[in-house]
Structures are given as structure tokens and as C-alpha cells.
């Protein structure tokens, strides 16, 4: 029997009850979330279960939602079951003041560098990671640049007084 999103959802709810929630399918990919304490348990279940077998970690990264108090950082896992060719997206949210999330590096070797990259850019502290240090930025950096508190200049801003460039200002 081919694996369906409905079935995956059912198995997850059977196993974790109401702790897995927020099931939706934006643009045709099953997405759900779980408490961050459960992330490894959910991943392990998805990996081990004879039916589910999500053995391929396609991608792992974070997203910053500064306005969502207590859930500022989302760590997003994209998993793929290659035999059934079905993908899903799994999210855990963490507060930015204590961004500790368990590391999946022992389960998926691929997670090692992906977690380092996520740490580098968002400051997610992957607990249990064998070598959590910056990977693309310099070691001396003391902030996490992909967070929304470091915006780039808006190219379409209008508050500049640069009449020489034909924007804003006043023509006398």
C-alpha cells in the first residue's frame, strides 16, 4: 500500500497524541510541528518505523519569527522516504532566549553541517552536537546574522533625502 499523508498523520497521532499538531499541506507537502523536547523522538520514530522509513534528511534550517513570543525560532526538517518517494516537513519551535534543540547528527550524518550552518546563522544551540561551531562566518563573530534584527537596507525606502537620485527630497 502506498504511503499517504493521511496515514502518516494517523501513525504520528497514534504515537505522540496531541503533541504533534498543526498538520497542513501547503503546496502539497505535509507539514506538522512538535514540541522541541520531542524532536529526536519524532525523528527517530519517522526513521525507524517499518512503514514510514524517512531515512533521508533533505534539508535542515531555521526561520526567525521575531513577533511570535516564545516561538521565535523555528527549526525546519525536510525528510524524504526514497522508496515511497514521499516528502514531509517537520518543525520545532523554540524561544530565542534559550534556543536549545537536540541535535540530530547521530541519526543523520547530514545533519552535522546543516546544524552548524543553522547555529552559525540563527544561534540555535544544538544540544549534543559533536562540533558546534561556525561554518560559513568567521569565528570571532558574536551575533547571528540571519536573525531579523539585522535587516538590510530596503532598496525601495523613501526616507532618504537624495534628490540627486530623483527620489524624495524637494525641488526648489
Amino acid at each position: 500500500m502506498a504511503l499517504t499523508y493521511e496515514h502518516i498523520k494517523q501513525r504520528l497521532v497514534e504515537k505522540f497524541g496531541e503533541q504533534v499538531k498543526g498538520f497542513e499541506e501547503p503546496y502539497g507537502m505535509l507539514t506538522f510541528e512538535a514540541p522541541k523536547e520531542l524532536n529526536l523522538k519524532v525523528l527517530q520514530f519517522l526513521y525507524d518505523d517499518a512503514e514510514l522509513q524517512f531515512r533521508f534528511l533533505t534539508d535542515l534550517q531555521a526561520v526567525h519569527y521575531p513577533d511570535d513570543a516564545g516561538r521565535e525560532l523555528a527549526v525546519v526538517y525536510h525528510l524524504h522516504n526514497l522508496t515511497e518517494n514521499i516528502r514531509l516537513r517537520f518543525k520545532v519551535f523554540t524561544e530565542i532566549s534559550r534556543p536549545d534543540v537536540f541535535s540530530a547528527a547521530t541519526l543523520y550524518a547530514a545533519a552535522n553541517w546543516m546544524e552548524r550552518e543553522t547555529y552559525d546563522f540563527f544561534g540555535v544551540n544544538f544540544v549534543g552536537h559533536p562540533n558546534l561551531k561556525r561554518i560559513l562566518n568567521v569565528d570571532e563573530m558574536d551575533y547571528f546574522p540571519m536573525r531579523k534584527e539585522f535587516p538590510l537596507e530596503d532598496q525601495t525606502r523613501i526616507d532618504k533625502d537624495d534628490e540627486m537620485f530623483g527620489r524624495g527630497g524637494s525641488i526648489i
Partner: protein, 411 residues
Amino acid sequence: MSDVIQHSNIRLPEGSIEKQTTTLNLGPTHPATHGVFQNILELDGERIISAEQTVGYIHRAFEKLAERRPLYQITTLTDRLNYCSSPINNMGWHLTCEKLLGVKTPKRVDYLRVIVMELARISDHLICNSIVGVDSGAYTGFLYVMQYRELIYEIYEEICGSRLTTNMGRIGGFERNFTPLAFEKLEKFLKEYPAVLKEFENLFTRNRIFMERTIGAGPIGAERALNYGFTGPNLRAAGVDYDVRVHSPYSSYEDFDFEVPVGSTGDCYDRYLVRNQEMWQSLRIIEQAYQKVQSFKGAEAEVFHADVPEYYLPEKKDVYTKMEALIWHFKIIMGEIDIPKGELYFPVEGGNGELGFYLISDGGRTPYRLHFRRPCFIYYQAYEELTKGAMLSDAIIVMSSLNLIAGELDA
């Protein structure tokens, strides 16, 4: 001898008094690293006992930049990921945008895209394989194939006016129709290339030295490769039949008849063989696609973009002469039209594996978050495991056969 360096991972032979290892920085700028990445190798004689990789030398913050750029302006960023096959990145990005915006492309556009993407795959594999040749001491093959990659670049040039960072895609299709000269050049390429590829194979495939250098170098098993997140030729060389073009077809790949070559041992030689086989398959796909393109008649034969004026840029000559076209051009380029809310992941089969675009839009003019799943970044972390216990000269060849491109590694 008090200052003998003792590393926990070195086991000294019974009875030996001391053994010193050498630390060698291979890179970040070394001809053999084909880009800027550093390998800190710990050598016992010429045998590698540990390796640590450092990347990030050309990190350009693409993901951050993308948060301030409307969709079209991100195209130029994708060009600079894997610059050996930039049209694939381009097309992948525009396919992602089209999925987000719900744009349906005409069949002719799909086929033209397939032609361009497969040409890019050939040029990518060709460079990779000939570099493997260079690193095993055979420079001639590399010099020889350069002129045929040139033919591909000339086709790009005909299509979009640019050669390396092509920027040729548009949301809904291409910037302009392929000129008759582009098709002529494509025909010339299709006619000449098989003989070249055959000759290239003759030069390497059964070459004693090449075989000795590559067989058994940097092997990886299927299970381990999957655990490491390998995709593309590197995964297929390990014996896993996974190709995004087959598993989640995009751009009408389901209309084409082609095989997915797989290897067995996952060593450098298998990776070379898989890439070579793929070039033959790409040629097959291009021929089929070209026939399909030719089968369009009348007005259909002129279609090169979808009819989506709110996303597709107006023609340049109109922009220069008509006010409305100029306004639309401005609105689209500056992102005055908000993009729909949504979250999606779109994978394409890049030159060296699954290139994915994870895009979150909050309904503004720019992506809220854009992440590139870059296959090179994923391969390189397996480098230590692939080279541990091998000789220094193997380290070089493993690196080139993984097809690591610094632009994609660092994003």
C-alpha cells in the same frame, strides 16, 4: 624526546619510540582544491590520518540578500551558486516562483528549458570528469573538451547574450525566443559531440593509469551515502537509483525516455562512469526535446513564455517606447506586486545533485526566508570519511570527483 606530538587517534606500532605527524594545509588557495576551501590534513608520511574541512571563504550571504530582493533580482544570486551549470539553478528558481505564483508554462517552454538544463548538465559533468583526469595526471583530456564546452557556451550566448552567469530564465519562460542561429548551433553540437564524448571515454575509461588512480579511491556505500544526504551522480555511483527528474518530474521530464545510470562501489571511478553515462543520457534527452520543439507549428512555434503579464517582464523594445510597458517593467522588477503567502520546497536535479529551494513568503514583495539546499555543501562534510587512511594524492582526486564547487558550497 619530550616534545613528541601525541594524538589520541594515532596508534603507535608496538615498540616504536616516537612518530611525528605532519599537518598540511591543503588550500584555501591551492591549484588542486579547485576553489577556495581549506583541508587541514594530518599526515603520517603520505597517509592521511585525519582531515578537517574549513569552508566559508567566499560566503556572500545570498540567503540574507534574498530577503530584500523581489523574485527577479534573486535570479542573479542563483546564477552564482554552481556556476558550472548556472542555467539549471536559474530554471530551478523560476520553477519555484512559478509554483508559488501558480503560473502554468506552455509545453514548448518546458521543452526549451529541458534542452538548456541538459546542456548545462553536460557542461558540468564534462568539466568535472576532465578535472578528475587532470588530477590523475592527464591534462590533455581537459584541454580537449574545453572547446566543446565552448560550443555549449555559444548556444547560451545565442539564447541570452551571456555565457557563464546566464540569467536566462523568466517567470513563465524565457526572456526571448531561441534564434534560428541558436538551433543551428544546437544541431552542430548534437552532431559533433557524440564523437567527442566517445573519444573522451577512450582516453580515460580503460586507461590503466586512470583506473589505478580512481578505482577504490574514496569509496562510499549506499547506506552511508544516504545518511550523509548525498544526491545526484555521487549517490547514484553508490548504487542508489534516485534522480529528481524521475522521482518528482518538473518541466515535462516525464515526457522523455531516458535511463538513470547507477554504479556499485561509489568510488571515484564509479562517479566518473556515472557522469559519463549521464552525458549520453542528456544527449538523448536533448535530441528528443529538440524534436518535440520542432514539431510545433504556426503560432505555437513562437511561444516562449506563459501569458502572465503581471509577472513576465514586457519586451525591451516596448519598455523603451511604451509608457505602460515601462510601468509594468518597473513594477515587476521593483517588486511592487506582492507575492502570495506560502511555504514551499522545490527540488531540481542540479549538475551535482538535488538543488532545493525552500521559500517562505509572508505576502510581501520579497521572500520572508529563502534557503538553498546546496548539494556541494552536503558532500563536502563526508570528505574526511572518504579520505581517511588514503594517500595524499587520493585526497585531491576525491575532491574533484565529488564535483565540489565553491560557489555552491558557501552560498
